[in-house]
Symmetry: C2
Subunit: 656 residues, 2 copies
């Protein structure tokens, strides 16, 4: 039966996986191995309960350096009525950990006795005196660690299914074990396939895709307690892929076939699985990642019943990594006998409306921070190809199937990737992007702080401040009437919020053009030429306002500009558009042009300010931002960005 | 200058460590190594910011399988007015990930076109038709992943000091790296010393201590990102220890000398450090662990300025492990360039009063659970030798110096070892101990639940229920008037709480005696013999009530019983006392006697019930306890404990 890319609900997919594994006898721990205790066992899972073989201590043990004695012999001892005991018959020196003599039942610390010689004078060697004098009685078992104080033989020390930590190894050794039975690591074969793939380190040409999914999947498998086996890239050839899968089936417990899981002309995964066994589903209603495949194939050379599960993993990096989290991690948990990872969850307020296909379970990556006492979640790029969205994500917001979207301001539950502890070390910067913010992020990271910047343009930043969703906003909004930056917009958009405007950088704006400026572009007047393709910034961005201002001054109609509707969200994205040939020019900063080896036609000098609500000025997270404005090493690093001027950095344009 | 076991405050100790390391140029990352990207890098720390070398995608890429075209050519296409494009000049088939042709700026998915042959009939090969027909216009850049969509060359991808995760490796590879600069792992030498130590696996005799601190420390070091080097045990010989330390100083960045850090006759650590360098402190006001030592010694064969820090780590296992957490983890964090671990914290209500020495910072291990909507923290054994207190601990409650204790019911902050997620998977059982609870813990663990049992005796359990600190209590309190178990006590101690009493096990109680019963003990009458030493259970324990009841019936005065004041808290501890010779007999259950190979004089049959507040009967955690009462595999496991009877397990003595 061919099941051709028909999305089934997630719960149905999970049910089919469980049933297929149960049928194959694989819905359980895969195996047990007994290994000598060593630090390498941290993270391994106990395969059996650990019942103590030995008590700890396994003898009555002195708990102090001092003299072992019979407590009864000290009865009546008082400061005014000391008791004297002969060493040898009634007292014996013991170090901490020594066996308590059979006849003794207490230890008096050496500092609590007078060690005397035969004549009643202080003994030369306080540890080997003739006698000791005590001025206080001791209850029995004082300063003794009785046998079994820590562990009594036969008690349960650790249950099966326990993930070993350093102290557990100590307890296992203490109760008489040399080896420990742990569950075997599942072997997971990872097979990258595709003509377009090139190994990491290969110089790339257009159309080449650097094959790193197998690296990410292998790292995931290892970190979850499996043993990854990475295979070299197999080209898009059905028979070659089939041979590789057959090979992997001999030496692994699970095969991840990446990619070819879609339904394109070169997507062989489903057909290969059908030829080698049974295709159990092709497509799950989950986004990103829906073209995931699951099947069971025969294990070559073994009995007919021996099966190996195989997952067809989608090719987009975010889809691949999430397929790992959603499908592979629970299997490794099952097979190693530990509970599946239960991510910590927090409740947060969504900063931006998101829409979602009604039928899919939608995995939205978000960054999280605490702003003004509220936990806020800002959605990251949704594209399945944007691996940086996973790198930057603090967590995942799962929109269940059946829900078509969530409004800004709604409360959502977010599964955290990180500890909730980092949230109050996070600075949320929402606004216009500037390369100096990347440098700021690096310098703040050295101080244990995290700068999360969402690039929504200058106006978007002011609105985010108004909604209480950011600690600061970078803005370079020119007032066309006064020529002053930001002041008017702050008054207009934040009338009820006391904010500081502090000058951050001055930067050159101009036209980013291809090397050698082949189209001879000299100014905004050239944008209306029919042979010039422009790339614009998004509405609300300061650069866009600057452009429109100057277009207005020059009397240029924006409708006459080809590409005026092409919007990019960062300076570097504009430069990339020019570098790629998609546009001939775009307005942006020198730094972005230089970074991609492009030429630059300087036109204006503009101010880029930080807008910071006064209520955050005393925030522990914001103070270092001000400190850095005056730190020579940071200022120098920013000044080295081409076209940047830090001469006014830190000047307060509007105070609190 | 000799600094002889003089406790300094923790902050002073931290200051001296910092100053000594700053002076030696060691208050920084120790080194950088450039390694090829591989899954083994997970957990390593970036040594430098990762700035993108390559954009991702590094070309305009088709985002769907379909036909590349010029968006302008589709202008005006509508269901009633299709547009037809010739393949070759105006459209080209592309797979997902293919390079967009130079002339194209959009992709139409294959399922959205009619693929036609020259005659306008459906093409044989839909991927290579003569022409395609569209019935909707496409905006430019539809289904195209523009160059730099994920990463723009030169942008910051990861800051320095970032702990690498699987997806980070993908992003690093995507932006053009083959290798990555990470911080070097600090090498930490671990030197166990002591005549009493024997390696794991050696058969032990009294006085032998199994050397597992080096295992725990090595596992800690490895899990924090260091490279442990374990040395064999060195005997208590100052010169041998000195030689070993000198050797370690040549190949490590930090030496952990364990133990000999106290001030006993065989404690050479301080002297060895003074001979090789400078002793910076000896003693920190922290409990457990105060005899910790810190010094700086010369690195042999290098210039006079080259120094190696050395920590004298106390010998008690809890002290050793906490010394690792308090002193070693922050150093490894510093040296690897990552932030020090910030444990999650929760607020909890303390279940039991604890006292603390006024001058010490006191690290109290606690178990945590959620009971009746409150988070409660129950202190574990305080002894520095009780490693199981660290194994069982969910977290640490730090009592600052200057505070002499905390009352029961006070709110405390607990640093968690575990995720707060497990707290609502935890069942708190406080009451009388029974071996079947160990089995219950194991069976519940298989169901993802954790049974935390604090053994405070039957009465203590009822009081804990009254205070709302436990989900259930095991109890075997005999009513001397009626011969009925538990009912009267429940009414007396829990008058306002609706509880269920459910029969758990029947068990034989009797006298645990040494093998062969050398003293010929036949019954309670023998306890008054002058040659018989008894070991008792603590006040409130059901076994204690049983004893007192029968002593009363027999008219035996407890004051005539030697050892009546010796109290143990579990059946097994009583058995261990007999096994060790500390007592001749004690009242307890058969199972405990059998477990330690002792003989048993059966005297009475008693009932052991579970007392469960009615409000928890519907709790997701408690239901599995009831399920297990009826599960044959569990009943059989309990029935196999010697002297146990499960015939009445699950019978409701008092319902809700």
């Amino acid at each position: 039966m061919s099941v051709y890319l028909h999305d089934i609900p997630m719960t149905e997919a999970q049910r089919r996986i469980r049933e297929a594994l149960q049928e194959a006898g694989l819905w359980q721990v895969l195996g047990i191995e007994t290994l000598p205790l060593s630090e390498a066992l941290v993270g391994r899972v106990t395969a059996e309960p650990v019942w103590a073989r030995l008590s700890s201590p396994h003898y009555h043990s002195a708990a102090m350096d001092g003299f072992a004695l019979r407590a009864e012999d000290t009865d009546g001892a008082m400061p005014t009525a000391p008791v004297t005991l002969l060493v040898g018959s009634h007292a014996a020196y013991v170090d901490t950990g020594d066996v308590l003599p059979e006849w003794a039942n207490a230890v008096v610390p050496i500092e609590n006795v007078e060690a005397l010689d035969q004549n009643g004078r202080p003994a030369d060697d306080p540890r080997h005196p003739y006698m000791i004098r005590l001025r206080a009685a001791l209850p029995p078992w004082t300063h003794v660690r009785p046998m079994g104080e820590d562990i009594v033989a036969t008690q349960l020390v650790l249950p099966a299914g326990h993930v070993l930590r350093p102290v557990d190894l100590g307890a296992i050794a203490a109760c008489g074990y040399t080896d420990i039975a742990v569950t075997r690591k599942p072997r997971v074969a990872i097979l990258p396939t595709g003509d377009e793939l090139v190994p990491i380190g290969t110089p790339v040409k257009p159309g080449d895709i650097i094959e790193f999914n197998s690296l990410v999947l292998a790292a995931q498998v290892a970190s979850w307690g499996g043993e990854p086996i990475r295979y070299p890239i197999t080209p898009d050839d059905e028979n070659l892929i089939l041979e590789r899968v057959r090979e992997a089936a001999q030496e692994s417990d699970l095969i991840l076939l990446n990619a070819g899981s879609s339904a394109g002309s070169e997507d062989y995964s489903a057909r290969v699985i059908e030829r080698l066994g049974e295709l159990i589903f092709h497509g799950v209603a989950v986004r990103p990642g829906h073209p995931v495949i699951f099947g069971m194939i025969g294990r070559p050379g073994e009995s007919a019943g021996a099966k190996v599960p195989i997952l067809g993993v989608p090719g987009y990096p975010v889809s691949a990594a999430l397929t790992g989290e959603i499908f592979v991690e629970p299997l490794i948990a099952l097979w190693t006998g530990r509970p599946a990872t239960q991510p910590e969850e927090v409740e947060a307020v969504l900063t931006r409306k998101i829409t979602s296909p009604a039928g899919d379970e939608d995995y939205v990556r978000v960054v999280i921070g605490e702003v003004g006492g509220r936990t806020v979640a800002a959605p990251l790029a949704r594209g399945a190809g944007v691996i940086t969205s996973l790198v930057r994500a603090d967590g995942i917001l799962v929109i269940p199937s059946g829900i078509q979207g969530i409004e800004a301001g709604e409360k959502v539950r977010v599964r955290l990737y990180t500890s909730s502890r980092v949230l109050n070390r996070t600075i949320f910067a929402i606004g216009s992007h500037d390369m100096s913010l990347d440098l700021l992020a690096q310098f703040l990271a050295e101080r244990g702080l995290r700068l999360v910047s969402a690039n929504v343009g200058s106006l978007g930043g002011l609105i985010a401040l108004r909604r209480g969703e950011a600690h600061l906003a970078g803005s370079h909004l020119l007032d066309p009437e006064t020529g002053v930056y930001n002041l008017r917009y702050v008054r207009q958009y934040l009338p009820n919020e006391a904010v500081m405007i502090v000058r951050w950088v001055g930067r050159e704006q101009g036209l980013i053009v291809r090397p050698g400026n082949p189209k001879g572009i000299k100014g905004l007047e050239d944008l209306v030429r029919s042979d010039v393709m422009f790339v614009n910034r998004q509405r609300g961005a300061g650069t866009r306002v600057l452009l429109d201002y100057h277009l207005g001054r020059l009397g240029i109609n924006s409708e006459a500009i080809r590409g005026y509707q092409q919007e990019e969200y960062t300076h570097l994205a504009v430069a990339a558009a020019v570098a790629s040939g998609r546009a001939d020019c775009g307005l942006g900063v020198t730094a972005a042009a230089k970074a991609l080896g492009l030429d630059f036609v300087p036109l204006f000098q503009e101010a880029y300010d930080l807008i910071i609500p006064c209520k955050y000025l005393e925030d522990e997270r914001i103070k270092p931002v001000f400190d850095l404005m005056h730190e020579p090493r940071f200022r120098q690093a920013v000044a080295q960005l081409p076209g940047y001027d830090v001469g006014q950095m830190g000047i307060v344009v509007q105070g609190c």
